[in-house]
């Protein structure tokens, strides 16, 4: 789970880059870039969730 989120984040980046290459129109390009950012946010959320320590795990 912790690594899955980090793997999803580059997918969002490539979505944003694909928007640059594929869409000359600014509206569809912007929409795709925002979708890419949303995918990255999703990946970040999963990574954060996966890295949350088990309560008590930090106790000696």
């Amino acid at each position: 789970m912790r690594y899955a989120g980090l793997l999803v984040m580059p997918a969002g980046f490539f979505l944003a880059i694909a928007a640059l290459v594929l869409f000359p129109a600014s509206a569809s390009r912007a929409a795709f870039v925002v979708c890419g950012l949303a995918v990255e946010a999703l990946g970040l959320g999963v990574a954060v969730r996966g890295h949350m320590p088990q309560r008590g795990a930090s106790r000696p």
């Binding site: 984040m9 944003a16 320590p53």
Partner: protein, 433 residues
Amino acid sequence: MTPTAPAMTDAAFALALALLLLAPLAIAGVALINTGLGRSRSAVQALLGNLAIVAVAAIVFALVGATLAGTLPGAAGGAGCIFHLAGKPWNWIGASPFLLGGLAAAPAQSQLALLFEFLAVAFAALIPWGSGADRFRLTSGCAAAAVLAAIVFPLLAHWVWAGGWLSQLGVNFSLGAGFLDPGGAATAHVLGGLSALAVIWIAGPRKGKFPKEGLATALPGHNAIYILFGCFVSLVGWLAWNVAGALIWLHAPLAALPVTAVNTLLSASAALAATFAVTRIRFGKPDASLCANAWLAGLVASSACAALVTPGESLAVGFIAGIVTPLLVEVLELAVSIDDPSGAITVHAAGGLLGLFAAGLFASQTGQLLAQLIGIATLLGVVLPLVYLLFWLLNRVLAFRVDPDGERIGMDLHELGGGAYPEFVIHRDESYR
């Protein structure tokens, strides 16, 4: 931010050089703040670590990073490797002469740009050190700084400052003036903040921070005077940093520089005022360390946009940074159990991203917001996973976290054999029960 920059006048060159000689005060201020936010039994290790990291970052950047950053012109005039995709050139990595070759003969502006990058790489490498306070080993911290200075920072600096593909978004895709980051918000602060997140994830929380039951344990900083004085020191450095950045990367006229300085001050001031009010409302009294964090967050946000926005817009950016900072610190600690003693994720990563977004939002050029969004997507989608991967591999070779005994007696005694306050008696820590 293009390789074909207009020549700099002698007055602008002298001013930019003088400002860059003042800019390390920003680094000194943040080092002081990070030390104050840590515990007294790790104070010397924290401050020595800051100094060592600056040294390691500078050496490694000179040996390896500057070549990949591509700021100095190469033998053929240009300084970058380019591939073509969809009919557009994508300049993805620099290729300057090895070991700063040709530095003395390079154009004056390239020399200043390189000096700016030296300071930025030191700053970026320093930021995760504060987040690993009280458990991050000194050698591992230096090794992490070396990784950032050798690989990640040079890539990002090339993309943003040295004619790389992000800086060319305007030329190739008609997106405003391309990705703009005159003060190093992306290359130094967001990179540092995201690296801090990777360090925290890999090293884990401090012992006793998140007990089995109940809320997270408060582990307050040991010296509020260091923290608040560090804010004053930082302001001087930041003013110099942002004005120098406007001169070097935006080729701003001299008459435009006072506005950049005023915007820097306004952003920090508005952030402090907002956090002062938020903490006063939430806790009944203003919180000193959160106010210091907000001051820094305002400064970080100004790094991206102080040279690009009006004073009113700068106030708005600082105000938003000041509202977000205390709330995000609370969310990260209480909701997602991230133990970030220096608040680097909130201050540097979130503050930098806010500034970069604002630089696009308030821009007059068409497509500038989209260029800034693509830059943000690059930071989150490439830089964070790359830093995490490199740090994860490094942790396999050189463990980030100190052994339990070191954490119990404090990093000063464990790693250096002596503390900052030898007359103090180290008391038993109740959180270890």
